[in-house]
Symmetry: C2
Subunit: 392 residues, 2 copies
């Protein structure tokens, strides 16, 4: 049987249309877009066409899109570039405790250079309270960065409300929308965010390309200085095939958004119901409704997430435990810790991220495969034996 | 007739072998290399295999190679990352006046943050004098960054001597080898450089991927903070297809190096002789011998480089005037200015960069095509008319 891949938050295969669109740009339309001759200016025109498609996905103007090499670069660009460009206003930055490592560690970098960072707590579902944000803002606050959707627990933030707080206080607001753009509606004109990070790889485009949306004339210090590419805001020869793939995938994601949301949330709900019925002592994490449509995250008591993932992979099912960037690095997920989930439960974290290429058969196979694995692992687990004995 | 492309310093088409090696990684071997399951660990293994190939090109150990998204990112990483990681030692940085924009503007960024930068002059051929470098080094110097080869004038620096000066003074030495790696021998063990920037696109690999070589345990502050990728030194999901393409192209470039150097230097010498014979008042720029083998740069008096390039492109010949990153931004090349070439001569700059895919026919066609273009443009040039009248 074909692998049942349910780890789309970690990586997606590039969709056929995007790959086909990219191919000519490797060896035929290869010229440097900064050159003055037609081979180069033709490529530049194609880049601009695809910039429009990426802008269209989030309701931005094309001049507000800066292509980067990843969502992580876009996050670093925003979280370092805004404070550096607005030093005169102050040295205070606010992020949430469950940000992606690229936001979190960019903020920690700022702390080494006389910036102060407030790490906002989240509720049991992983949501930031807009009132709490309002109270944290000071006159010297230069940036608030709160992610749109969390890839580990699926929770969506009340982004409009958070953005409104920032707007009323005159503070720039960045949101990491890597996990959401292309999967749910993201409209910068409605959301009133000032900066937004995107990644092609999350919406079935290629790895190696992302974007930072920067509203209007907002000043931001470049992360990569050099030539005139991206209107002087990000140096280095453009990753042309990557940009073409990103634009193509973004346009298709935009068109198919509603249909895909229906498809994947139905599959996700079936998966949830099936696992809830067949596994005891299971705790679903993140917000029950305000969440990514294809995202199901849970903790299975008394066993290790990594063992579950390993055994599922032997049966051809690919899922994750926490975020891919951290999965080899950390024992207890900082996101689950921020949700006040006890370590012994957090260790059993399993994350399913479905997309529209998954089928009902995939879900049924997962529902049939996971419970016997859980039973087997629990039969070896001293923690589980203790629990059973205590309750009997 | 096929276009005669002689602007390989701006961009190269991806070679067949590299593109073929990349293709499976878009939609089949697509898993995230940071995941714990086999789909991901297999990809990680392939990345490491190709890291070895890139390391092999420059005589480095694979652990000393950090993949980036471009040569410009590698240059920014080194020029910002070394001073930030060695703040305690001092705040002085030395670069040459003819560095790539990504080095130059990264250094200017440092100046905004209490760093002092010395811009070393170059001789008429664009070479930095090692004695002059030695005199510029101070106790508080934390980094010297001098490029290996200049893409606008083709000149190679006396890199071993410059590196030896730095070593004797205990100062870290970075070199931008984007224009040279894969085109001439670059061996970090022999050269004794501490950091070296590379780009895949210069050696017929894909755009969107570069690398920074960092010797041993040299401390350098990451430019992109976040997850554990690249051993914690460069966050963001790896551009897997890009890395595979880079490794494949680097290995082939290494194998074919000597043969290609012979081929392209012969072609370049023929081109030079042909143009010298048929165009009056022409000045070749850069060092006559210590230069990139396929590189021919010249200034044609009394006419504009851009007009020449435009008219050549109408005849299917693609060349450049100065560096591609700057070509739309600047009127007079700062590199030619640093060589003390008068502006009225520098304006007529034309740069041919040949590679091994060029043929003798290409060269003959260029020799036949350029002189009549020069004559035509000069017939419209008031500067040329003045000169002719003054001499008659």
């Amino acid at each position: 049987m074909q692998p049942v891949y349910m780890d789309h938050a970690s990586a997606t295969p590039v969709r056929k249309e995007a790959l086909e669109a990219m191919l000519p740009y490797f060896d035929r339309k290869f010229a440097n877009p900064s050159t003055v001759y037609d081979l180069g200016t033709d490529v530049l025109k194609d880049i601009e066409e695809h910039r429009e498609k990426v802008a269209g996905l989030i309701g931005a103007s094309p001049t507000e899109i800066i292509f980067t090499s990843s969502g992580a670069e876009a996050n670093n660009y925003a979280v370092k570039g805004i404070p550096l460009a607005h030093k005169k206003k102050g040295n205070h930055v606010i992020i949430s405790r469950i940000e992606h490592h690229s936001v979190l560690n960019a903020a920690r970098f700022l702390e080494r250079f006389d910036y102060e960072v407030t790490y906002l707590p989240v509720d049991e579902y992983g949501r930031v309270d807009p009132d709490r944000l309002e109270r944290a803002i000071r006159p010297e606050t230069v940036l608030v960065s709160i992610m749109h959707g969390n890839n580990e627990i699926g929770t969506l933030q009340p982004l409009s409300e958070l953005a409104a707080v920032c707007k009323s206080k005159g503070v720039l607001f960045h949101s990491d929308a890597v996990a959401t753009a292309g999967l749910i509606p993201v409209d910068v004109s409605r959301l009133e965010v000032d900066l937004l990070s995107l990644s092609a790889a999350q919406l079935r485009g290629p790895k190696g390309v992302g974007a930072l949306y920067v509203r209007g004339n907002t000043r931001v210090m470049p992360l990569i200085h050099g030539g005139i590419q991206e209107r002087g805001r990000r140096a280095g020869t453009e990753n042309v095939p990557g940009i073409i793939g990103f634009g193509t995938a973004a346009e298709l994601a935009s068109k198919e958004l509603r249909k895909n949301m229906d498809t994947v949330s139905t599959l996700r709900n079936e998966l949830k119901a099936g696992l809830q019925d067949s596994i005891s002592c299971i705790q679903f994490t993140g917000h029950p409704e305000q969440r990514l449509p294809g995202h199901l995250s849970l903790c299975i008591e008394a066993i290790e997430g990594e063992s579950i993932i390993f055994m599922l992979s032997k049966k051809g099912i690919y899922v994750n435990t926490g975020s891919a960037c951290a999965s080899k690095a950390l024992k207890t997920s900082p996101v689950l810790t921020a949700l006040s989930i006890k370590p012994e439960i957090a260790h059993g974290s399993v994350v399913f991220t479905l997309n529209e290429t998954n089928s009902r058969q995939d879900v049924e196979y997962a529902i049939g495969t996971l419970p016997p694995i859980v039973n087997k692992l629990r039969s070896y687990s001293p923690l589980w034996q203790e629990k059973v004995q205590a309750e009997s």
